[in-house]
Amino acid sequence: MRVVSVTLLSLVATIFLSSALLLALPGDFSERALWITIFVPLIWASFMTYSYWDKKAWRTMLTLGLVSITGIAIVIISPTPV
């Protein structure tokens, strides 16, 4: 389970969290995009480390899964930037 979290779920959670933050956070779009791009490597590395940090393997999967699902939900309900 931890291997799935570290190799797959951490990446999926990073992508959807970044997209959700890009669409949902307030402020200038280009500024947001730049800051999120800067933080992506850190978010990804943090999720990978978290996969082995938590005592329960299922909890890491659940947490990363929930982050991904929340990200997807925000992407769906947010309007496309114009």
């Binding site: 992508i15 280009s30 490597p41």
Partner: protein
């Protein structure tokens, strides 16, 4: 920074397994990165025609350049055209133009002109410096795939650093513990920790900036797919602004010689490059690039109309000085050490070498603990093979790099095939060295032999340059010759260091333990 025992075990597993699975790949990225630092300096060594001086009164290049741009425009749909003015790192005029042919393929044409006479410099195919730079940037793969893979190496390196800090814990103590006269395991272990601690700030910086430069290649298309329904251009336009559209009305272009004489708005510096879009159109756009006057900035830019020279406010984000822009603009100079002089590059090279050695010692430690310790459940043969592979790869890539210098000077084939044969030679040598290592009985002897060969070949690089191009270390009249001689001197010094280091390598494994400190050692091992 102590963590509970269970967590320590889990983080140790993540650290060791991600290290052993991707360690060799990270080693290759780190090692090639050391060489990539000197890409500009290698150019004049590689091509004697570039060993030029920057003239006080350069040739008026405008007519030659406009002819080049027009000739390229006739071949297809011109996307951009660029001129590089003679400057310290490239003391000649450089022209680059990209057009889409009938099959909508992007073709890039390149020219180099003499800075004093404007004559076309002898054409030479891409080879040594191009290969060494691109193998680090994108592993010579298609850009998106290659940069993503290199970026992933940076991400994994970040994870290795974080987990390494947590599992190591005693940073101050580890810094002062280097027991080279004790057991082989402690030697690898202490070397790994000391190298990790010495280079920690550098490793964090280089991994983060490398990860950023890599993942950005995959991130923008992914975010475009998710947030912009796959419209990457819309995302780019939203972040960096809409590009200026061509009007369809022809116009005479502003002279690039005039641009060359145009000083930076806040300093006396002159431009190094102009990138032109909408060439030949009333809405032609000149992006004039100056050397950065602020620290940790890639460049300064002024946007001009390419017909009347009026300044354009395109609203392009990367010309604004916001906090995010300052960070983004600092990433490339930080990664490639372009914000300082050559000495900074050597400091980077040394710290980069620590990073490569950190990976190599980590791999050796992994094998050592399994081959001569209680960890692991694979056969001895498996760990022997792993150890030999580590030796082969860790010395194979430096060997391949040095052989490329010889290949560059001794290549006699077509210039258009130079890069192809450079790649074949590079991988052939790296693979051959690894295979050689597999068939050797004793790893210590293999390392010693390969290091002697590497040292001798590296020391021979100045001689090779002397024989093939007549370059001597004591003659340096131009900036190009200085760079070429710098490469020779660097190779000579490195070669001697490698030969001397090889004499320090034992010919067999050291199993000795000091009896009086055996308890301390056992306690240390138990704590690990």
């Amino acid at each position: 920074m102590l963590v509970e025992q269970d967590r320590h075990k889990r983080l140790y597993d993540l650290h060791s397994w991600s290290g052993v699975l991707l360690g060799l790949f990270i080693y290759v990225v780190a090692f090639t990165g050391i060489i990539a630092l000197f890409g500009d300096e290698l150019g004049p060594w590689e091509n004697p025609a570039q060993r030029l001086a920057i003239p006080e009164k350069p040739f008026a290049i405008d007519e030659t350049f406009q002819n080049f741009a027009k000739a390229t425009q006739e071949k297809g749909e011109l996307q951009f055209v660029r001129i590089d003015f003679p400057h310290e790192k490239a003391p000649y005029y450089g022209g680059l133009a990209g057009y889409n042919n009938a099959s909508n393929q992007r073709i890039v044409v390149e020219r180099k002109w003499h800075p004093t006479t404007g004559e076309l410099l002898p054409k030479r195919g891409d080879g040594l410096s191009h290969w060494l730079l691109d193998i680090h940037r994108k592993l010579m793969l298609p850009t998106t795939l290659g940069r993503t893979l290199v970026g992933i190496a940076g991400i994994v390196m970040l994870v290795l650093i974080v987990t390494g800090i947590f599992i190591h814990g005693k940073i101050i103590k580890g810094f002062f513990t280097l027991r080279l006269d004790r057991s082989t395991r402690l030697k690898w272990q202490d070397s790994h920790k000391v190298l990790g601690i010495i280079g920690l700030p550098f490793s964090i910086m280089i991994s983060f900036t490398g990860a950023f430069l890599g993942v950005i290649a995959i991130l923008s298309p992914l975010v475009a797919v998710i947030a912009f329904q796959g419209d990457t251009e819309a995302l780019i336009a939203k972040v960096i602004g809409e590009p200026l559209e061509a009007s369809g009305e022809s116009a005479v272009m502003l002279s690039v010689d005039k641009i060359h004489a145009m000083q930076h708005p806040d300093s006396d510096k002159v431009p190094t490059r102009v990138i032109i879009t909408n060439y030949g159109d009333k809405n032609a756009h000149y992006r004039v690039i100056y050397p950065a006057i602020k620290e940790l900035n890639s460049s300064d830019q002024v946007e001009l109309n390419g017909v009347d020279g009026s300044v354009i406010d395109t609203g392009v984000t990367n010309t604004k000085t916001t906090a995010a822009n300052r960070v983004i603009n600092a990433i490339t100079p930080l990664h490639y050490a372009t914000y300082g002089d050559i000495w900074l590059k050597w400091v980077y090279a040394l710290l980069g070498l620590f990073l490569a050695l950190l990976t190599a010692t980590g791999l050796m430690l992994f094998v050592e603990r399994r081959l001569h310790g209680s960890e692991g459940n694979r056969s001895e043969q498996f760990y022997q093979r792993l150890s030999k592979t580590n030796i082969g790869v860790c010395l194979g890539f430096p060997m391949a790099t040095v052989i490329l210098f010889y290949h560059d000077k001794l290549y006699t084939g077509l210039e258009t095939d130079r890069l192809y044969w450079t790649g074949i030679t590079y991988f052939a040598v790296a693979i051959a060295t690894t295979i050689f290592s597999w068939f050797q009985q004793d790893g210590y002897k293999t390392v010693k032999r390969l290091m002697i060969a590497l040292g001798v070949l590296t020391t021979g690089i100045p001689l090779l340059n002397l024989i093939t191009t007549g370059a001597t270390l004591w003659v340096s009249n131009t900036v190009g010759e200085t760079f070429s001689n710098g490469t020779d001197i660097g190779a000579l010094v490195l070669g001697i260091i490698i030969i001397v280091s090889s004499t320090q390598i034992p010919t067999k494994r050291n199993n000795k333990r000091k009896p009086q400190s055996a308890n301390i050692e056992l306690t240390t091992l138990a704590a690990e």
